[in-house]
């Protein structure tokens, strides 16, 4: 007999919860590209960076070589038609990140990697050296597992951004920003090691990052 009481209470709670939800809340697609702002931190989700379109003769997944250009100054994904302009600050294609300068664009961009959390970097030291790209030999943000912002594990075929690495970016117009790469997979969660290769291939190269101007 006594068991009915919690059940009744539970059903009340359900009604209550349902009332709360009546307020219109924006539907967020966790797998879609989005930009959101909280205070002075801007978070970008699911920005594709040369996503996989097929496989090579050796069976390696490859993209079409299509960069996604992003403006840290305006918070916008810039059209590829504007690649040869100073409208963008950071470009993404798989594990290659490029800044708008030298071999990558006409701007005055640059970058270096800071070892430490996003929050702990409050100002850019005046004696900092910003590096530039020398495509395709070297990049301001060094490519390679364990070098700048990610590690890659061969057997599980998974890429993990390194915690505590903050990218310091000089924008095309010479402003400063700090960027933390959060995740490399669509939806913002790294697939488990045992996931099918088809999932790991399909969902990779979707950038999640947060940044703020300095």
């Amino acid at each position: 007999m006594n068991t009915k009481f919690p059940l009744l209470l539970l059903s009340f709670l359900f009604v209550f919860a349902a009332c709360e939800k009546d307020k219109p809340t924006p539907v967020v697609d966790q797998r879609a590209y989005s930009v959101s702002t909280s205070g002075n931190i801007i978070t970008v989700r699911n920005l594709p960076g040369d996503t996989i379109v097929g496989t090579t003769a050796q069976g390696q997944p490859i993209g079409a070589g299509r960069y996604s250009f992003f403006s840290l100054e305006t918070g916008q994904w810039i059209s590829n038609a504007d690649s040869n302009s100073t409208r963008w600050d950071l470009a993404f294609a798989g594990t290659i990140l490029r800044v708008n300068n030298a071999t990558s664009g006409p701007g005055g961009g640059g970058a270096f990697v800071y070892n430490g959390t996003f929050e702990s970097l409050t100002s850019v030291p005046t004696d900092s050296t910003f590096r530039v790209d020398n495509h395709p030999i070297s990049y301001a943000i060094t490519r390679g597992s364990g070098k700048a912002w990610y590690t890659y594990d061969g057997p599980t075929n998974l890429l993990t951004p390194i915690p505590g690495r903050t990218l310091v970016i000089r924008t095309a117009n010479g402003q400063r920003a700090k960027v933390e790469i959060l995740n490399y997979y669509r939806g913002g969660t790294t697939p488990s090691a045992s996931s099918a290769d088809s999932i790991k291939t399909r969902d990779q190269r979707f950038f999640h990052f947060r940044y703020s101007k300095m």
């Binding site: 959390t117 996003f118 590690t151 057997p155 951004p161 915690p163 505590g164 903050t166 090691a193 999640h208």
Partner: protein, 281 residues
């Protein structure tokens, strides 16, 4: 207090061995490991070289300083309890590590030195003679291990991990797991019924808690967010029965629960039943 010295042994230096029966994993002695793995890599047999591969070098001998503090307690004739705390400080600890993976997924191990390591913990043991024929015994070990250089970095706040929202933060001290392949908790329990030398039943349970096997979250140390092998329980049961004066039957089951982990315990067999007849002339 004790001091120890351990030179690298033959196995660690020279023995190269591949276990084809159990998943094809290999262990290479350090004298040949670099050369063999480079050669395998050149002919395209290596899927991945672990960061540990770059740490392979001439093995140095291991020096350790240990401290032990123990107590024994016998509340009665039939009960025996022992407790022991220990701490070992080890210079150039010789430790087995996975250094590479073959393209078929099988692992390659070798040995390297951890510059400065420690192990510390508590062991307890009890034995209880229930009757003359019944005995119950058990033990438990709590173990903490670590690389002192890693530990120093963690204490200074120089190692990082991620919060649930994906953002980086400084790693907490209690998130450090220490050296790989070591379980924090290990326990065993044994029940014996033995009315005579040839008539017996043994029940033995072993427990080992999870242990870290790979650093998968991108930072430089083993912590709670990394890849772990699952903890497990193994139960062994055996019995003996005299049939005639000179003839004895023995039977048993090893790994009664049939626990298996092909990836992290490649040489750990599944359930194993056996039956033996002993004849004494």
């Amino acid at each position: 207090m004790g001091q120890g010295f351990k030179a690298p042994d033959f196995r660690q230096l020279y023995l190269n061995f591949t276990n084809n029966a159990a998943g094809g994993y290999s262990v290479y002695g350090t004298q040949d490991a670099i050369r063999i793995i480079r050669e395998l890599n050149r002919i395209g047999q290596i899927a991945e070289l672990k960061p540990e591969f770059d740490r392979l070098t001439e093995l140095s001998p291991e020096f350790s300083t240990g401290m032990n503090l123990g107590a024994e307690y016998r509340p009665s004739q039939t009960v025996h309890i022992r407790i022991n705390g220990f701490r070992n400080d080890i210079r150039s600890l010789i430790d087995v590590r996975q250094v590479a993976t073959r393209i078929d997924g099988s692992q390659i191990f070798s040995y390297l030195n951890v510059k400065r390591a420690f192990t510390q913990g508590v062991e307890t043991e009890f034995r209880w003679q229930l009757k003359t024929t019944w005995q119950l015994s058990g033990g438990y070990q709590w173990l903490r291990t670590g690389d002192k250089d890693e530990w120093a970095r963690i204490k200074k706040g120089l190692e990082y991990t991620r919060s649930s929202d994906g953002t980086s933060r400084v790693m907490n001290k209690n998130e450090y797991v220490g050296l790989p392949n070591r379980s924090k908790h290990q326990a065993q329990f044994k029940l014996t019924y033995q009315p005579s030398e040839t008539r017996f039943i043994f029940l033995r349970c072993l427990y080992r808690s999870r242990w870290t096997v790979a650093n998968s979250n991108g930072n430089g140390v083993h912590d709670v967010q990394d890849e772990f092998a699952n903890g497990f329980v193994q139960i062994n049961l055996s019995g003996g029965l005299p049939l005639r004066k000179n003839l004895q039957l023995q039977a048993g089951i090893e790994n009664l629960l049939n626990y298996q982990d092909i990836i992290y315990l490649p040489n750990f067999p599944g359930r194993n039943l056996y039956l033996t007849l002993n004849f004494k002339l």
